[in-house]
């Protein structure tokens, strides 16, 4: 062995140790934090504690929407086909079919009820691979009542800030509109786990409790809502809005067909399929999203414009011979009224009078006036998916039919609320409210206030009214006419007359080219100090007077009179 060989060996030994030390330095000094983070990720499993969603109450503090525990039956291993079959017979509940394509854990049945859940838990040892999973679900104790105001929730489809996978989010209605207040903040829990994922202990010091969602107090009066729904029970497709004319708050809102938000996302998805397959779109909130021709209710608008513009006054009379001839077209009235003044024109809903008034005003003046009175634009109600309806102006006709390529007759149609015009029930209710309260047009709203769990108010729903561009005299005139509609012997709304409370209203019949006409009725009560304004539209219901007016009367009697202390109905 030579000195150079010795040096060679010592060098090799040295190099080996230098190499190992460099690597150590790299791992422990340079990349230390990264590896430490990885060791923490290894050791610590993050669990999310779902925040309970905020509740909803009506204006009287009655609980409308809350959360409850739901038990799901979950299959953890696929090997137990026979077991599931036996269970199906034993429990007599529908279970999802188990086949080779499923991946575990597999939910056999949702919301199995506490009895079934405890049965499974008790027989735990005989049912290997089966377990009961507890989830918190949204609970709508009133079922379909006011479902469009509440809306429904569903699992988030993609992860966004502030959410955890599997979180629920409001998809429609108040649930959607006030999502940020309702959702709460998920808590976190850290578990120390071993290499097999078994939890060793909870890291208490790092646990963050969930912050529950805030409670929403709606402007709804659940009593009125229920009354309205029960009075409308026999009609399959209809919409109704009741508003407090004093502040614009929505007292009740009905849209039918409705849905049960408890069941929207139930599995199997038959309910959802039923909802989406229905030709009447039960998920559609007709009260704010459907436009209807208002029919004769619109006469109030046209008369208001006529009075304001000085085109007519109370003493202006016109002749009704069962209709009005314009050029080579005859516009029919529903009756032969003879010589009528303005009041009679409204009370008896004479079309001929309005045709002549409409002819004098012309499309543009009617349209501009209607726009100023809050039609043709969003009311700004705090619910998603509101639609503005349509007020056809001359520009609109020009763009639709070509410039000047449309007849003057559209003004006549428009003046009786037929033709292309579309208004939403909530727009009608708002306009009637404004007449009832003396001329203040409120933005309708459904949320009165939002309060956190400690009672601090986070949000207050209010509406700044704006004055209608109508003189007090015009408004008083229209109010008086509306009283006549319901209370005069010849009034079209006579079926809405109440012996307990003075109601003012206006009937309408919206022509429906695809079937029977829609019945429309708008009203407010009590006449002197109005506390409720209402718009009711019954699709294919027929005439507003005989069909919709009595419904409104019963609703008002049951609601207002009880409040006034009149028990004897």
């Amino acid at each position: 062995m030579s000195q150079s060989t010795l040096r060679l060996f010592k060098t090799i030994v040295g190099l080996c140790f230098v190499a190992l030390s460099i690597r150590l330095f790299q791992l422990q000094f340079v990349e230390g934090t990264k590896w430490f983070r990885l060791s923490e990720e290894n050791r610590v499993k993050l669990l999310y504690i779902r925040a309970p969603r905020g509740r909803m109450f009506d204006r009287n503090g009655c609980l409308l929407v809350n959360n409850r525990s739901s038990y799901s039956l979950v299959l953890d291993e696929t090997s137990n086909h026979g077991l599931v079959e036996n269970l199906k017979e034993e429990l007599d509940i529908p279970l999802r079919t188990v086949d080779s394509t499923i991946s575990c854990p597999f939910t056999l049945a949702r919301d199995i009820g506490i009895q079934v859940a405890s049965y499974i838990e008790e027989h735990n040892h005989e049912l290997p691979g089966l377990s009961v999973e507890t989830r918190v679900v949204r609970n709508y104790p009133y079922g379909t009542v006011a479902s469009h105001v509440f809306g429904y929730i569903g699992e988030i489809s993609k992860l966004k800030r502030g959410y955890t996978l599997g979180d629920q989010t409001g998809l429609t209605g108040t649930e959607n509109q006030y999502e940020s207040y309702l959702k709460g903040e998920n808590g976190t829990e850290y578990l120390e786990v071993d290499a097999k994922g078994r939890a060793i202990r909870k890291l208490e010091e790092r646990t963050e409790a969930a912050v529950p969602g805030n409670d929403v107090y709606l402007t709804l009066d659940m009593e009125l809502q229920s009354i309205m729904e029960s009075e409308l029970a026999q009609y399959e497709v209809c919409a109704a809005v009741a508003m407090d004319p004093r502040d614009g708050s929505i007292l009740a809102m009905v849209s039918k067909p409705n849905f049960d938000p408890n069941q929207v996302f139930m599995t199997p998805a038959e309910y959802w399929r039923k909802l989406t397959d229905s030709p009447h779109s039960p998920l559609w909130n007709r009260a704010i999203s459907s436009g209807y021709p208002p029919g004769s209710v619109f006469k109030l608008v046209v008369v208001a414009i006529g009075l304001e513009g000085g085109v007519v006054n109370r003493r202006t009379t016109m002749h009704c011979g069962g209709g009005y001839q314009l050029g080579n077209r005859f516009f029919k009235c529903w009756d032969v009224h003879g010589k009528v003044d303005l009041r009679e024109a409204i009370v008896q809903s004479c079309d001929s009078y309005l045709y002549q008034l409409g002819e004098r005003l012309g499309v543009q003046r009617i349209a501009e006036g209607a726009l100023k009175l809050g039609f043709g634009s969003l009311t700004g109600i705090d619910l998603p998916n509101e639609k503005p309806g349509l007020i056809p102006t001359t520009e609109w006709y020009d763009s639709k039919y070509g410039k000047g390529n449309w007849s003057r007759g559209v003004a006549l149609n428009l003046s009786v609320g037929q033709g292309e015009i579309l208004v939403t029930p909530v727009q009608l209710a708002r306009f009637i409210s404004a007449l009832a309260n003396g001329g203040i047009l409120y933005r309708p709203f459904v949320v009165r206030e939002i309060v956190d769990r400690d009672g601090r108010r986070l949000y207050r729903g209010e509406s700044k009214g704006e004055r209608l561009p109508l003189s007090n005299q015009t408004i008083q005139t229209l109010r008086e006419f509306m009283l006549g509609v319901v209370n005069d012997e010849l009034g079209t709304g006579i079926r809405g007359r109440s012996e307990f409370v003075q109601i003012g209203g206006k009937t309408g019949t919206a022509q429906n080219p695809t079937g029977e006409d829609h019945a429309v009725f708008c009203c407010f009560a009590p006449f002197d100090k109005p506390r409720i304004a209402m718009a009711i539209i019954i699709e294919r219901g027929g005439h507003g007077g005989p069909v919709a007016a009595p419904i409104a009367r019963r609703v008002i009697e049951r609601y207002v009179c009880k409040k006034e202390g009149v028990q004897d109905l």
């Binding site: 062995m1 030579s2 060989t5 010795l6 060679l8 060996f9 010592k10 090799i12 030994v13 080996c16 140790f17 190499a19 190992l20 030390s21 690597r23 150590l24 330095f25 791992l27 422990q28 000094f29 990349e31 230390g32 990264k34 590896w35 430490f36 990885l38 060791s39 923490e40 290894n42 050791r43 120390e192 786990v193 071993d194 290499a195 097999k196 060793i200």
Partner: protein, 398 residues
């Protein structure tokens, strides 16, 4: 002799490093097994101490005289598991006598070292003649082959290091050593086409730079090519997957790549000072498989940090360097080669084990000397230290 007296009969560096390593190792085994195996580990240390004392006191000439018998005995031991055990992987590494279980490949190290040292140190051995290499290669091949068949490739690799180290020490020409070494490298690298290609290119360039003759270049190159092409047919699936997972650890998160990754996490997360004795989360929560044996070093890294690792490596470095120094001043070539081999065994085991823990080499089932739990390994490593001390004591005896 005066100098000898000054140095004293006992190499205190070796003894001190050994004791510190054993103490540190016991702590690690205690931590890794939550105290469960520490008593047995202590018993193994005592047993190893006896082996050390025996190797230290036994007259060195007797080792020379008995070397071929010891070699024969160790080869016989190696055949036992092959004959008794089934095809079960890893089971054939063990001889089970009912009351005790041991790894014959560990003991084969001693047999191989003594027999090779005796043969290579002989006067007839001429490092310039290829003929002289035949006998030592024969002595090497038998235990090597049996160990490969077991299969315990890592220990077989240690055998290679012993053989090649002794040849170099004895002055065997570079060409012969290349003939021995390069085909093995070729086999290992041929798992990866690119690596193998680079290796072959480097080999060619190296040979040209060293101005080897055309015959040498051709023969070496041809040998390397042949084994490189044949290799995929000869290696077992799990061995291939181990190497594949080393090349691409993320491809097999729960396989052997997983344990390398977890051991890197353990060591890296230890940082400079470590998480503290018994506080390693990687170890505690079972993210590290075989944590008390092959991955013991990752516990050092996790719980004692960079400081602890450097201490362990430093102690091993002292031991190994002392072994080579002792080899260089041994009384005769036999002692010199034995001392050198002891150092090389410790070096190769340290580099492979720590390198594996650090993710530098593929997963290899080999313990870290003096630190890992395991009777056979501890016994043999301590016996090697005993031989080392023996050679050191007698370095001036004539």
């Amino acid at each position: 002799m005066q100098e000898g007296r000054r140095a004293g009969p006992l190499d205190l560096w070796v003894v001190a490093a050994l004791i510190l390593l054993l103490v540190f190792g016991s702590l690690i085994v205690y931590s890794a097994t939550e105290g469960e195996y520490v008593k047995r580990h202590g018993a193994y240390i005592l047993l190893g101490g006896l082996a050390l004392l025996f190797a230290y006191t036994f007259h060195f000439r007797n080792f020379w005289a008995l070397s071929y018998f010891i070699w024969l005995g160790s080869v016989a031991l190696l055949t036992i598991p092959l004959l008794t055990h089934s095809q079960e992987v890893f089971a054939r590494r063990w001889v089970d006598l009912g009351f005790i279980r041991f790894q014959p490949s560990e003991f084969a190290k001693i047999g191989l070292i003594l027999a090779l040292a005796r043969n290579i140190s002989a006067k007839q051995f001429d490092p310039r003649k290829l003929k002289s290499l035949i006998a030592p290669i024969g002595i090497f091949l038998l235990p090597f082959g049996l160990t490969v068949v077991e299969p315990d490739l890592t220990t077989a690799l240690v055998f290679c290091v012993i053989l090649v180290g002794m040849f170099i020490w004895r002055g065997v020409s570079l060409f012969y050593i290349l003939i021995l070494v390069t085909p093995v490298l070729s086999v290992v690298l041929s798992f990866h086409h690119v690596f193998w290609g680079i290796y072959m290119a480097l080999l060619l360039v190296g040979l040209l730079v060293l101005r080897r003759s055309g015959f040498q270049i051709f023969s070496l190159f041809a040998m390397n090519s042949i084994v490189g092409v044949l290799n995929p047919i000869l290696l077992k699936d799990y061995q291939r997957s181990r190497i594949a997972s080393f090349v691409n650890p993320s491809g097999d998160p729960r396989g052997s790549g997983w344990s390398i990754f977890q051991s890197k996490i353990a060591i890296g997360s230890g940082g400079i000072l470590g998480k503290g004795f018994m506080m390693g989360t990687q170890k505690k929560l079972a993210f590290l498989p075989a944590v008390h044996t092959d991955l013991a070093f990752s516990v050092v890294g996790e719980e004692f940090g960079f400081i602890g690792c450097v201490v362990i490596l430093g102690l091993l470095f002292v031991l190994i360097l002392r072994a080579i120094t002792i080899a260089s001043c041994a009384r005769n070539m036999f002692g010199s080669l034995v001392a050198l081999s002891a150092g090389l065994v410790l070096l190769s085991q340290t580099v492979i084990n720590v390198g594996m823990n650090l993710g530098l080499v593929p997963v290899a089932g080999i313990p870290l000397p003096f630190v890992s739990y395991g009777g056979s390994s501890l016994l043999v490593s301590m016996a090697l230290v005993g031989l080392l001390l023996n050679i050191h004591r007698r370095r001036f005896d004539y």
